[in-house]
């Protein structure tokens, strides 16, 4: 099987730090700013969190929404995504910056609830219900009990200070920034979008004058002056193995332009436009020639779409393809229950 990982397939020339920063500065700004704010906001002994830290965190969140999130036209879904994602990240930051552990646990419940909203947006209603029941209903409440039992004497000094807030923030910043850049490299479709728009214009051209306006006149201009950028970009995009047909189409497009064969130019442009759209659709998937959604295991849904009956289909998947893991999970739950009873059930006198 022909696996090609996009990120690592692009061999990158060694460059200095400054060109890298200049190119990716805008991408790096939200993670860096948010973790600066977090480093300031983490609790320290006898010092309250400054207001500018909160403002910086909010600014970093808004900047991240503006710079990193790329939205499509579906309006309600986009709005809900912004709401749930912002709530999840804000509550997550609040959770680790709270001094009162009870408030922190409640913030974690908020993180779980907004994550469940994201699940719902991603067509996973069963998981939403299960996560709310298991996390918000069971885990958080149980831990709230323990916190309240343990903190009967009032606030403890352990909650009023943190260990190495600056170093930990740097570590988190490095992790998030590298993930952001990696995701941007893998899923950034802007070059393909531009190419697709240009090809669409050429494909919709009606007469020779319009083609000349878009691509230039082969007789008057220097050879390949206008088509060359498009053709070069196309060759770069379709340079992988197994795409010989598309490469032939690119050469045919170039040749048609050289002879100013308008119907052939528009036909080839439309064909290449479709190829670009198809490539855009599978950007970032590991196997380059695989259509997203087409699963090789039988018993799965139609290609590219999740089935409408989520619970039924999920049950079918879990109890056919994942039968052995389900049984193992059941054993794990049993063992964990026994283990918890054994560990917690001991009398405190026996421990000493």
């Amino acid at each position: 099987m022909d696996f090609q990982v996009t990120v690592f397939a692009q061999a990158e020339a060694a460059r200095g730090v400054w060109p890298f920063l200049k190119e990716n500065g805008l991408l790096l700004a939200p993670p860096v700013l948010s973790f600066v704010a977090l480093g300031v906001l983490l609790p320290r002994a006898r010092r309250s969190a400054p207001l500018w830290g909160v403002l910086l965190a909010v600014f970093a969140l808004i900047l991240g929404a503006a710079v990193l999130v790329r939205t499509e036209t579906v309006f309600v879904e986009t709005l809900l995504f912004y709401a749930f994602a912002g709530l999840a990240l804000g509550a997550g930051g609040m959770m680790i910056a709270q001094r009162n552990p009870v408030h922190a646990a409640l913030s974690f419940a908020l993180v779980v609830l907004s994550t469940c909203g994201l699940f719902l947006l991603q067509a996973a209603p069963f998981l939403m219900a299960a996560t709310i029941i298991v996390y918000a209903g069971a885990i958080v409440v149980t831990f709230l009990f323990v916190i309240m039992l343990a903190h009967q004497g009032g606030a403890s000094s352990a909650d009023q200070s943190t260990r190495e807030p600056v170093l930990a923030s740097v570590a988190g910043c490095v992790l998030l920034a590298s993930l952001v850049i990696l995701l941007h490299r893998t899923y950034d479709t802007t070059p393909l979008d531009q190419l697709g728009a240009e090809l669409k214009k050429v494909g919709d051209a009606r007469d020779e004058a319009e083609v000349i306006k878009l691509l230039g006149d082969p007789k008057q201009t220097e050879f390949g002056k206008f088509t060359r950028p498009i053709v070069e970009k196309l060759r770069e995009q379709f340079s992988a193995e197994g795409q010989d047909e598309i490469r032939e189409e690119i050469e045919a497009f170039q040749k048609a332009w050289n002879f100013m064969n308008v119907p052939r130019i528009t036909q080839k442009a439309r064909l290449l436009h479709e190829a670009v759209l198809a490539k855009r659709q599978q950007q970032g998937s590991l196997a380059l020639n695989e259509v997203p959604g087409k699963s090789k295991t039988p018993g799965h849904s139609a290609p590219g779409k999740l089935p409408a009956q989520n619970v039924a289909a999920l049950g079918r998947t879990v109890f056919t393809d994942y039968l052995v893991p389900v049984l193992l999970a059941a054993v794990l739950l049993l063992v964990a229950t026994i283990g918890a009873i054994v560990i917690a059930g001991r009398r405190s006198e026996e421990l000493r």
Binding site: L38, A45, R46, E72, A88, G92, M95, I96, N100, P101, A105, F108, V111, V112, T115, A123, A124, L127, A130, V134, Y135, A138, I139, V140, T142, F143, V146, I147, H151, A155, S156, S157, A158, Q160, S161, R163, E164, A168, A171, G172, L179, L183, Y187, D188, Q281, Q283, G284, H300, S301, A302, K305, L306, L314, T317, Y322, A329, L333, A336, I343, S348
Partner: protein, 144 residues
Amino acid sequence: MSPATLQNYLLVGAALFALGMVGFLTRRNMILMFLSAEMMLQGVAVNLVAFAKYRGDLGGQALVLFILAVAACEAAIALALILMLYKRRKSLDISAWQELREPDQEPVVDTEPLAAGEAGIDFQHLTPAGAAPARKDAEEVSHV
């Protein structure tokens, strides 16, 4: 679903994971450390669900179910362990267990330790409400 939408969800997952990591590294309350680890799991779950939608494959959602099962087990065990540790030291502070450090490491010392009664916040107390119930005689109550 387009790669751009997938990328948005992956970014949220990555941010949740990084936040959880920072929380785990810095906080000293054992329960908050555990909840931070759970937040990292939430980030992973967001990733898996987004990939399930993107590829039209329910395997991702099935994996999130397993994450839930493992998280429940982890919660049970962690709760038992934390309770046992709390019984021995009467504190949820992870720094109370510094003898578990590497033998050649210096122990971590608080630069500005807080005094016993000197905590920044007060916990809420319920306001007494209603009239106090009248006390009955012990004989009258003990009819069990």
